[in-house]
């Protein structure tokens, strides 16, 4: 097995590389998000570039290997952004390199704004990919309303390269807000905090971030300056029973708060395994109690629970049966292998997923074993 990385320069070369594969390939974007399958590496970094940005139609199309930073830079120039605020995994995982837009989509990476603007898959409106037989396939397109044929766009988002290697992605983008502010409540228990987040998310004040960790409960509001001030004021009143919220209305400092939550930076330099548990928000505190973690961060109004536990902890065993799922995000390879990265699925769904993989990748060359 050669250590060389295959780096096709276009979709045609990629298809050829896949057709030529005699065993499993490890599909790479920027390689910053860990969790790869064994086998020689196939990188899409050479298939790069923003191919279309139409600000008046809120659309951007980019090839999969385009660095996320390039996509974001193109958008900033027009006062726009990706709505779903993708996490940067580098600090948490200790990885290097440049995250690519293809990697973001392959892992359906979505940050705090997921509660308001949707996940990566919700902004994704078109894909091109090469399947395990080497066929180039297009689905969706560049328009934001499209129900023509099956929605393989959603299927590809989060499929981690196991159904096909993404080559081009289209997004619905949004205007970036004029400013933002963060309301901060201190000293709430997990249960009180999630109650406060639920109360806030039940108001019409368009909360775009709702998190709790390290004794601080934070809520983000974005938009035009006057509107942010108005909504922050109304929200403070609405939350008075949880304490007197302070407002961070310096947009830079507010942004820093949410970057840290997005990237789970509090866990970055601490030893141990990191898990991410997805549940309905009001179940979050009970999950955290059962997990007995060293550190806990609630995002998504309580529905996304980040847990730092001693290395090798079988968190799923600790949690027992619950409505939701737990993903192992950071651990050594042995722990990933022993516990499994992804939550076991109910048998009928696992059978469908296996059936889809067998259809899209009949020879099992695309990240084999990564998802089951």
């Amino acid at each position: 097995m050669s250590a060389a990385v295959l780096t096709p320069a276009d979709e045609g070369e990629l298809a050829e590389a896949i057709r030529d594969a005699r065993g499993g390939l490890r599909i790479l974007g920027g390689g910053t998000r860990g969790a790869g399958a064994p086998g020689p590496a196939l990188s899409v970094a050479g298939i790069a570039g923003v191919t279309l940005h139409e600000p008046g139609a809120l659309t951007l199309v980019a090839r999969a290997g385009t660095p996320l930073a390039d996509v974001e830079a193109a958008l900033v120039e027009e006062g726009q952004r990706l709505p779903f605020e993708p996490m940067d995994h580098r600090a948490l995982l200790g990885t290097e390199g440049a995250p690519t837009i293809g990697g973001v989509v392959a892992a359906n990476v979505s940050g705090p704004r997921r509660i308001q603007a949707g996940a990566c898959r919700d902004s994704l409106i078109g894909v091109r990919f090469v399947d395990g037989t080497g066929a180039a396939i297009s689905n969706g397109g560049r328009v934001m309303k499209n129900v023509t044929g099956y929605d393989l766009v959603k299927l590809m988002a989060g499929s981690r390269g196991t159904l096909g290697v993404l080559t081009e992605l289209s997004f619905k983008v949004l205007p970036a807000p004029e400013t933002e502010a963060t309301l901060i409540l201190e000293g709430l228990s997990d249960a009180q905090a999630v109650a406060a987040l639920s109360a806030a998310l039940g108001t019409p004040f368009e909360v775009s971030g709702a998190a709790h960790g390290a004794g601080r409960t934070v809520l983000r509001i974005e938009g035009f300056t006057d509107s942010v001030a108005y909504r922050a004021g109304r929200l403070r009143t609405a939350l008075a029973r949880f304490g007197d919220a302070t407002a961070e209305d310096d947009p830079e400092r507010s942004r820093a708060i949410w970057r840290a939550i997005r990237d789970v930076t509090d866990f970055a330099d601490r030893p141990g395994d990191v898990w991410r548990v997805s549940v309905k928000p009001t179940d979050g505190p009970a999950i955290a109690a059962r997990a007995g973690a060293e550190e806990t961060l609630f995002d998504w109004g309580g529905g996304l629970v980040w847990l730092l536990v001693p290395a090798g902890t079988d968190l799923r065993a600790r949690l027992g049966d619950f409505a939701g799922h737990a993903t192992l995000v950071r651990a050594d390879a042995a722990t990933h292998a022993e516990l499994g990265t992804f939550h076991p699925e109910p048998a009928p769904l696992a059978a469908i997923a296996a059936g889809l993989r067998a259809k899209f990748d009949p020879r099992g060359v695309l990240n084999p074993g990564l998802m089951g």
Binding site: E54, I137, T148, G303, H343
Partner: protein, 478 residues
């Protein structure tokens, strides 16, 4: 409309199949009297009709599973049906099929304001969902114009949209979980009240699969807190091109309206005659609605009017009261009814990049002349989802066919402009044969592979979505 020849072996077992269905369902849940099955012979694409072999109206997920298990064993095609408002013939039966209607399954199972979700049986109608959570100050966002009648089941199967999806997204963006029964009777629970699914996004591919992958019996949907207020502004322009350019500039300006609706001259005049909403007589008008507090609305509408002024509008009419808001929306909401008065019409649903609006409108005008048929345009302009309405007279021999041919040309023009055949109504039987204009053989093959996995015998709604020639081998092998 070409449909596959019905399976003679199924037709010959008609009585036996009905008897078997009665073994697994209460007697009143099976209809096979030809007079009664006529009520299910079509959906809202009324030009095409075909009474089914039988109709079943199960009342629970278990009953749905029993029906599917039976039909799978007997090799009988099943056509799932919600409220039958599909404009694409999605729920149109075939002669050898059992129509499985979920209308009896219409309960709200759980309302959860803390987690902002509602769990319902899939036969629940769209509007009644918003009604159910209104007392808590919430609403369900996707709002198809048919929302009074259409069911969540059909909304999920078609990935329905509505006037407000520029801000809130379409069905797939508001669907968190579902109970789905596979053709072999297996009951699956996908997703739930949590925000993301583990593993592959199966819910994402089921949504919009037009009843071909499984029967949805329950759904967990996101509900949202109702905005403090909303207010529309109506803007009249002397050409469609200018109105189109104004739409793009509004979006660029950084405001995100909840809705940007567009009507052209023919449509405006028809609506005026019908609803007397007091619309100005102009070539094109936009209705733009924003949400928030009074001050927030003032600010956003101020910005929008400023952008519009750059396009020299003929008139700008901002609502000053709930009555005026209702008047502004009145004409738009009655558009389909108004067109119905002018005669028969076909409602198209292509989507185009907003930037291509002027060009495509021009092309539609030229095609309309060429075919000698009137076309009125009304659509969700913010997201480029057009609804050209082709007027024709069904009693004039050949005119339906001519209207359909014109429709096909218009949809091809949408695809050529970088858009797609259907933005929210679905492919059904109506646009089945146009799929080749948008997709390569490999693209369609990839989609059909998904069906192979969920429904290996191709018994669920089999003659829809894919051109018959493309799906022939698979349907025959079933």
């Amino acid at each position: 409309m070409e449909m596959p020849a019905p399976n003679p072996s199924v037709l010959s077992r008609r009585a036996q199949i009905a008897a078997r269905l009665r073994e697994v369902l209460p007697a009143d849940a099976v209809i096979d009297d030809p007079v009664e099955t006529r009520a299910y012979e079509c959906d809202a694409l009324t030009a095409y009709r075909c009474p089914p072999l039988a109709v079943v109206l199960p009342a629970s997920t278990q009953e749905v599973a029993a029906v599917l298990r039976l039909c799978n064993r007997e090799g009988v095609p099943v056509v799932p049906r919600g409220a039958g408002t599909s404009l694409a013939g999605g729920s149109m039966p075939t002669q050898d099929s059992v129509v499985l209607g979920v209308a009896r399954m219409n309960a709200v199972l759980e309302t959860d304001y803390d987690n902002r979700t509602i769990r319902v049986q899939a036969g629940r109608t769209n509007l009644s969902l918003s009604d159910a959570v209104a007392e808590g100050g919430f609403f369900y966002a996707p709002d198809p114009s048919s929302q009074l009648a259409c069911a969540i089941a059909g909304n999920i199967a078609m990935n329905a949209g509505g006037a407000h999806c520029l801000k809130y997204g379409v069905t797939t963006n508001n669907l968190l979980g579902a109970t789905v029964v596979l053709m072999d009777g297996t009951v699956t629970e996908i997703g739930g009240a949590h925000l993301d699914a583990p593993g592959l996004d199966l819910l994402g591919v089921i949504c919009g699969s037009e009843g071909q992958l499984g029967v949805v019996t329950e759904a967990v949907l996101r509900i949202l807190p109702a905005p403090e207020g909303a207010r529309p502004v109506l803007m009249a322009f002397d050409s469609s091109e200018v109105a189109g350019a104004c739409v793009a500039d509004i979006i660029r300006a950084g405001v995100l309206p909840v809705a940007i609706e567009f009507m052209d001259g023919p449509c405006i005049r028809a609506c005026e005659d019908f609803a007397h909403a007091g619309y100005p007589d102009c070539a094109a008008l936009l209705i733009v609605e924003v949400e928030g507090s009074e001050a927030e609305i003032d600010m956003q509408l101020g910005l929008i009017k400023q952008v519009a002024r750059g396009h020299s509008p003929q008139e700008v009419r901002e609502s000053a009261s709930p009555e005026e808001s209702a008047a502004i929306w009145k004409g738009r909401k009655s558009a389909f009814g108004a067109m119905g008065r002018l005669g028969d019409y076909i409602c198209l649903d292509g989507t185009i990049p907003v930037s291509a609006l002027p060009q495509v409108l021009g092309r539609i005008g030229a095609l309309s002349q060429e075919y000698g048929l009137r076309v009125a345009n009304v659509f969700h302009a913010g997201d480029g989802n057009m609804h050209p309405l082709i007027l024709f007279d069904a009693n004039t021999p050949g005119e339906l066919e001519r209207a359909e041919a014109l429709g096909a040309e218009i949809l091809r023009a949408c695809v050529a402009a970088g858009g797609c055949l259907t933005g929210e109504h679905g492919v059904g039987v109506e646009k089945r044969d146009l799929m080749v204009d948008q997709f390569s053989a490999a693209d369609m093959e990839a989609q059909m592979r998904v069906k192979d996995v969920f429904d290996p015998r191709w018994l669920l709604n089999p003659a829809k979505v894919f051109p018959l020639a493309q799906s022939q081998a698979r349907r025959a092998a079933g």
